[in-house]
């Protein structure tokens, strides 16, 4: 890690607002993308983002400058997203088929994607229900194993598998419908 970064972290640990803002500005887009993947809409994502940064600023004093600072932050955000999932999961019991339709990321001005393709892919994630989306994220993006994910979520591995396959099937359908070009790029459909 270079010296500038080191300094920034030290100043954040001291609680300097300037430094905190700088850190935020540097990483906000990176982690907002992560939050959007997990949340069901952009306002939930903003919540996760805020809480995540708060946790980071709170515990940055404990960070021993040993290695991957970004990775350390990333883990905090993933954990924050999982916390959020656990908290809101009970409310979602009856809304299995769809999440709040009004917050469609395709038309949401609160999320400035750098590419429309990414925006669409995230929208497909939002088409899943919370369990499917969380598990897909954990297994595919965070590369948890099925067993690790089961332990983390405190469910049976078969539950994880079920939701994972369901998520994948739904995403496959959506991609088949809407993203033929993309699939060709990855050789997932014939010409």
């Amino acid at each position: 890690m270079n010296q500038d970064m080191q300094n920034l972290i030290e100043r954040c640990a001291k609680g300097e607002p300037c430094a905190q803002k700088a850190l935020f500005e540097k990483y906000k887009a990176r982690f907002y993308a992560v939050c959007l993947r997990y949340a069901s809409n952009s306002s939930e994502a903003q919540d996760i983002l805020t809480e995540g940064f708060l946790k980071i600023f709170n515990s940055i004093g404990n960070y021993r400058g040993d290695g991957d600072f970004e990775g350390w932050m990333y883990k905090i955000f993933v954990n924050q997203a999982l916390d959020n999932f656990h908290r809101t999961k009970h409310n979602n019991m009856f809304v299995e088929a769809q999440d709040d339709v009004h917050n469609n990321i395709l038309t949401d001005n609160n999320a400035a994607f750098s590419s429309e393709e990414q925006r669409r892919l995230v929208q497909y994630l939002h088409n899943l229900n919370a369990k499917e989306r969380t598990i897909f994220n954990m297994v595919v993006m965070e590369e948890y194993s099925i067993l690790e994910a089961a332990k983390e979520l405190q469910v049976n591995p078969s539950v994880v598998k079920t939701y994972y396959y369901r998520a994948r099937a739904k995403l496959q359908d959506l991609l088949l419908q809407n993203e033929k070009e993309l699939l060709k790029e990855y050789n997932l459909v014939k010409e």
């Binding site: 993308a33 708060l54 409310n91 009856f94 809304v95 709040d100 994607f113 990414q118 595919v140 991609l175």
Partner: protein, 322 residues
């Protein structure tokens, strides 16, 4: 199809700018001293998102109640069709149930009101659901009671203390109205683009499985209610009048311990204890012929059990010969 790679590639390093308001909230929280407020903020946030989810949840709970009503109505209809004629005992209970139905429905849809022994109506449901093989005269009263009671019970269980109360009058109309609304339940995404046939079918199959599981859970719950209701019914319908004082002074008035209503049951077990717990008298098939003459005056205890009816009563028995 391995879409994992596709997703990883495309989203792994994606960046999305959040709205400015996030920093405003964040900085004000940081100024305010974070560690305490983050917990309460988390609570506030979760309640906000809960409020968001609550509306959706309420709607879908109504939908679920509707679905439950449909299921219940179907089950009830099937049961009605299977009935023949002539079982006078059950017919009596039908009349009783209809009277008490108003009491049941007057209470708000609240699990407590169901669990309190408004027993006759619960018992009526028991009889209808459990003893399908037996016959009931399919007079006009019957379908009302069955459908209505079942709908109330299902609605209560599903809605989990937060359902709307169901009034007796509107219930039939409601059941009919909800039939039309089934389409909402089966096609929740009508307002979006048309979905291919295959996907629709898959989704319906998913819903069907969910519905089947749902039904089974309902059945189990109903069975639990039924057995409880049966138990309660038997408790309440076994009526004995047990005297608490006997005066064995040879005046032929209350010389013997005569339990009224005994003749209606077989094998009524009684036991009389002294204060110290010693059994003074015991009979496995009491016939009202115990007339103690040599017992010292004082308090004793009795225990009366009718095994077949799961009935048991204990109480004090005073013997006073002077």
């Amino acid at each position: 199809m391995n879409i994992e790679e596709l997703y990883k590639d495309k989203l792994k390093n994606s960046e999305v700018a959040p709205p400015d308001v996030v920093w405003q909230q964040l900085s004000s929280r940081l100024e305010g001293g974070v560690s305490q407020s983050s917990v309460s903020e988390a609570a506030r946030r979760s309640s906000t998102s809960m409020a968001q989810g609550a509306t959706a949840m309420a709607t879908s709970k109504v939908v679920a109640v509707v679905a439950a009503a449909i299921v219940a109505a179907v089950v009830a209809t099937v049961a009605v069709i299977g009935w023949n004629n002539d079982n006078p005992a059950a017919a009596d209970t039908v009349v009783v149930a209809h009277h008490d139905e108003d009491d049941t429905t007057a209470a708000t849809a609240n699990i407590e009101s169901v669990m309190q022994p408004d027993v006759a109506s619960i018992a009526a449901t028991t009889i209808f659901n459990a003893e399908v093989a037996q016959a009931v005269e399919p007079d006009a009263i019957v379908p009302d009671v069955v459908a209505d009671n079942t709908v109330v019970d299902e609605a209560v269980y599903m809605a989990d203390n937060t359902a709307t109360s169901v009034s007796a009058d509107s219930r039939v109309a409601e059941t009919e109205a909800t039939v039309a609304d089934v389409s909402v339940f089966e096609n929740p995404k009508q307002e979006q683009e048309p979905i291919p046939e295959v996907l629709q079918q898959l989704r319906m199959e998913e819903d069907k499985t969910f519905g089947e599981i749902f039904e089974q859970v309902q059945k189990i719950e109903q069975e639990n209610v039924d057995s409880l209701a049966k138990y309660l019914q038997e408790m309440f319908t076994a009526e004995l009048s047990i005297p608490r004082i006997i005066t064995p002074n040879h005046d032929n008035i209350n010389d013997c311990w005569v339990i009224k209503g005994l003749e209606n049951y077989n094998n009524v077990y009684v036991a009389v204890f002294s204060v110290s717990g010693k059994i003074i008298f015991e009979s496995k098939n009491y016939d009202n012929t115990w007339c103690p003459t040599n017992l010292p005056d004082g308090s004793y205890y009795y225990n009366v059990v009718i095994r077949d009816k799961n009935y048991q009563k204990t109480g004090a028995l005073l013997i006073k010969s002077r």
